[in-house]
């Protein structure tokens, strides 16, 4: 069975696509070992099927198991993450792989499954986790910078006439909704600090403005101070990203 991306995107909204995703992975796994069998229930007690991709498939052979979880495509979420789960009760070691529909991710996952079957997966699994974590962090950092950098350094989120700067607020809210603090694991602490602080500040500002009905000067000053702090963190983040890029280019 060949991988065709159009057959995989939108799989959560289309039962036929969902089934073709399940069949794709089962056929790939059966090419490695035909005796891998389903071992988990994927329905409620009323008989309704659970087609949410969590998991897409869960198969077992002797004392090893493979679980593939699939999400829709989203650049701000991990494209690939993998870990090992042990079940003492079943005397079982399970390889769990979370993926998004993407040709490269599929090829890597297929290779990882083959290595897991031969019990030689650890190095490759670590390498893939690191690689995709780096891609994810880069996507998130760029999203954050692209959204917040264009805001003028002198702009306030609450204007002097006590009106809300709606454009700036929309941006801050989008950031706090799409990114969450401490969700990303950065190897470079100089980036993780301003990154997490920025998202925390954006969430704080969004929460403060969302609950306020009437603004007074004291509150407006506090929110503008937080906004100032957010812009400072964004400048720091930008500086650190440039430093990291330069150092990467030198190493190349």
């Amino acid at each position: 069975m060949k991988y065709k991306i159009s057959n995989f995107q939108g799989f959560l909204k289309d039962d036929e696509k969902y089934k073709s995703n399940v069949d794709f992975w089962k056929s790939k796994i059966h090419e490695i070992e035909p005796d891998f069998k389903d071992w988990m229930s994927n329905h409620y007690m009323n008989g309704e099927k659970i087609n949410d991709g969590n998991p897409l498939i869960a198969v077992r052979y002797n004392n090893i198991a493979i679980r593939i979880i699939q999400t829709e495509k989203n650049n701000l979420q991990p494209k690939f993450a993998s870990w090992i789960k042990k079940y003492d009760e079943f005397n079982l070691t399970e390889l769990v792989v979370c993926i998004q529909p993407d040709p490269t991710v599929y090829t890597s996952t297929e290779f990882l499954i083959k290595l897991f079957y031969k019990n030689k997966y650890r190095r490759f699994q670590n390498k893939m986790n690191l690689r995709y974590n780096k891609i994810l962090n880069s996507n998130r950092t760029h999203f954050l910078l692209n959204k917040l950098e264009p805001i003028s350094a002198s702009a306030n989120i609450i204007k002097s006439n006590m009106e809300l700067n709606r454009e700036a607020f929309k941006i801050v809210r989008a950031v706090s909704q799409k990114l969450r603090p401490n969700e990303s694991i950065f190897r470079n602490a100089k980036i993780s600090k301003p990154y997490n602080s920025s998202i925390q500040k954006a969430s704080q500002i969004t929460a403060q403005i969302s609950v306020l009905r009437v603004l007074d000067i004291k509150e407006a000053t506090k929110i503008n101070l937080d906004f100032e702090n957010l812009k400072n963190q964004i400048s720091k983040l930008k500086e650190e990203v440039v430093v990291e890029q330069k150092s990467q280019n030198t190493h190349r």
Partner: protein, 107 residues
Amino acid sequence: MAIENRGRFQAQGQKLEESVNWAQVDPLYHCQAIVFIENLKNKLTRRDLKIRKNAFAECIDYVNKANKKGGIPAVHNKSFPKNYKERVDLEVHKGVAFLTKSKTQKK
């Protein structure tokens, strides 16, 4: 009487493995599951809990949904969120889980 119902809620991560297990004659009732999830939350540090805030919310939503659909039969495993190593796992190893406890059973 034989223990026909087993499972666990587990908070997992790079440096974390905390769980709350059940092993009982009766199915795991929905009200028990909610208490167990809260017990698991109480075992975590503030930081570990903060990272998993959404994971716990998703897990509770799923337990509620499963309860409305009559429960979940074993073997069943779900990870919340579904794409992170820092996560909360729900595992039904044996029997059924998330049923509604009837008034007579409560007595």
